[in-house]
């Protein structure tokens, strides 16, 4: 079973919003119709986005750390939004685990947004249907694109490669290795939704150098004492041999 997902490295994300912008650009130009923008040039612009980057400050000054936190649909393995949908518009694809909304079936009752603990779904105020991240399902299988570009728009846009994309069920994949080796974790694991998207934690790269490591412990000088000083009165081999 394939489960496509994103792995987002919070250690690398710089909060530039390139993923947000590219996601919006790709998905607003897609066949499913535009993602609405309301008052885009007004003082309180709003609209539908699949992906947003939030910023948190962790700790107390001066010991603070800034965490940029990209947030989109996590494509849960057990998505709570799917069973509550009365029309079947919300569904999880068997073949790749992507959670999608059929915009032609959605009645805009918003019940799925109540059922998603992450707030990953947003209603399109113009089309009045529920929208959410599709993992760029209209990109990743498009064979007219070069293979390297068959990835979600956000992944391609990320300048720091903080976003990885792949099959989290395949233990050999890049994303599985990242989760396994770099402490990847799901959000709100307490609800049993088993999000497929994982986050990699902030990590400090530090080298611990102990004092004794500065001195060569296997130094023969130290181990066996100083080399015996030469007795100047004694005969050397050279003396004996210098006939």
């Amino acid at each position: 079973m394939t489960q496509l997902a994103l792995v987002i490295d919070l250690n690398v994300c710089v909060g530039c919003h390139a993923c947000v912008t590219n996601c919006k650009q790709w998905n607003t130009s897609g066949s499913a119709g535009p993602l609405v923008d309301e008052r885009p040039y007004g003082k309180d612009p709003t609209g539908t986005f699949f992906n947003r980057v939030q910023t948190f400050e962790v700790g107390e000054f001066p010991h603070t750390e800034t965490v940029h936190f990209p947030k989109s649909c996590l494509h849960c393995e057990d998505p709570p939004c799917v069973p509550v949908c009365p029309t079947g518009a919300s569904y999880k694809r068997k073949e790749d685990g992507i959670v999608l909304v059929d915009y032609d079936k959605c009645i805009g009752c918003k019940y799925c947004t109540w059922a998603c603990p992450y707030g990953a779904r947003e209603i399109d105020e113009k089309q009045q249907v529920m929208k959410k991240c599709t993992l760029c399902v209209d990109r990743i299988y498009d064979e007219t694109l070069p293979e390297a570009e068959r990835k979600p728009a956000c992944v391609l846009a990320c300048p720091t490669s903080a976003r990885l994309f792949g099959d989290v069920h395949d233990p050999e994949s890049e994303v599985s290795a990242a989760i396994r080796e770099q402490g990847g974790y799901p959000l709100m694991p307490e609800w049993g939704t088993q999000p497929s998207n994982h986050y990699l934690p902030r990590r400090k790269t530090k080298m611990k150098i102990h004092k004794d490591e500065l001195v060569r412990t296997d130094n023969p000088l130290k181990k066996e004492g100083h080399l015996p000083k030469v007795d100047e009165n004694e005969n050397f081999l050279e003396d004996t041999a210098s006939w």
């Binding site: 986005f49 947003r52 400050e57 019940y111 974790y185 959000l187 934690p201």
Partner: protein, 324 residues
């Protein structure tokens, strides 16, 4: 959560309609064993149509909640998994039963399906009414479970949610029945009034229990589990959008904590003590006006109760929007 008035009207109106129908069937059941005089068929006919009118009004209100009301028929599809879908199916079934029940009574067509000498429980109206009772309770459960099944909305995720929906519906339905009966069958007013008071008191205990439960609720999700950073001190600096988003509108009631608290006291007064007082006074003085006031008070109180029910629920996604 943001209280949607369409849903507030839907749940309160159909609740009263279901309660009114249950009140009618209660009297018929009592009358069939000879405990109460059986009112005329027109009494059941007229009151069934009033119950139906409430159900229709609730249904109309619910359409205002939909972004795409023209596709509403699709919502019956997923009854295997969705309580909302189940409600969409049970509501029209119940409406149909109420209509047939009222029509049969109005026309006086009431053959006993089990033969001439069978007990009155075999009468057609009784059997249709019994199916209606089952549908009414099924509808209460569906309505309540729409909210009760959302496990991470911890304020709602309790058996008290469907119980409260049921008892509030029955209480307001019996209060309404008391009012309507005052004009049409005065001998039944005390019966209805008594039950209306009893159900209101019962609802007070169950709603009180859920209020106490919700006051001491411990939310399982924290900002730390929401973003996966294990630290006690996390401050949000940016929410990802300047002018707000769906997430900042749909999940917040947008009122102050003081307003929320005052609504709680408003509904606690309007739903329970005031209608009981007005019912007692109305029954003692045979005053239809006071009984009518009791229903109006309780209904307005239930609107406030439902508003509070939504506003009090804290959705875990709000953790991602700390500075609302």
């Amino acid at each position: 959560m943001h209280p949607a008035f369409s849903v507030i009207f839907l749940t309160t109106l159909i609740g009263a309609g279901q309660g009114l129908f249950l009140a009618l069937m209660t009297v018929q059941a009592y009358a069939d064993i000879g405990a109460l005089p059986l009112p005329a068929g027109s009494y059941f006919g007229a009151n069934s149509m009033i119950a139906l009118a409430l159900l229709v009004a609730g249904l109309v209100a619910s359409f205002f909640h939909l972004g795409r009301p023209e596709r509403a028929w699709r919502s019956a599809a997923m009854w295997r998994t969705s309580w909302l879908s189940r409600e969409v199916i049970v509501l029209p079934i119940f409406m149909g039963l109420v209509f047939v029940y009222g029509l049969l009574h109005y026309l006086g067509y009431n053959p006993n399906l089990f033969g001439e000498n069978a007990p009155p429980q075999g009468e057609l109206t009784y059997l249709v009414g019994l199916l209606g009772v089952i549908a009414a309770f099924a509808l209460f459960i569906c309505t309540g479970m729409i909210y009760g099944c959302l496990k991470f909305l911890q304020e709602w995720s309790t058996p008290l949610t469907p119980i409260n929906y049921t008892l509030f519906g029955i209480a307001s339905g019996f209060t309404l029945a008391t009012v309507l009966t005052a004009g049409m069958a005065p001998e039944l007013v005390k019966f209805y009034g008594g039950w209306a008071i009893a159900f209101t008191v019962l609802a007070f205990f169950t709603r009180g229990a859920s209020l106490i439960r919700n006051q001491r609720i411990k939310h399982r999700s924290t900002l730390a589990s929401a973003i996966g950073v294990r630290h006690a001190q996390i401050q949000q600096k940016a929410q990802g959008a300047m002018g707000g988003s769906f997430n900042t509108r749909e999940y917040f009631h947008g009122k102050t904590a003081a307003f929320l608290k005052s609504i709680k006291w408003v509904f606690l007064v309007l739903v329970f003590p005031l209608p009981i007082l007005l019912l007692v006074l109305g029954l003692q003085n045979d005053s239809g006006a006071l009984l009518g006031l009791a229903f109006v008070t309780q209904y307005v109180g239930l609107l406030a109760e439902r508003w509070f029910f939504f506003a009090q629920a804290k959705h875990p996604q709000n953790l991602y929007y700390q500075t609302i």
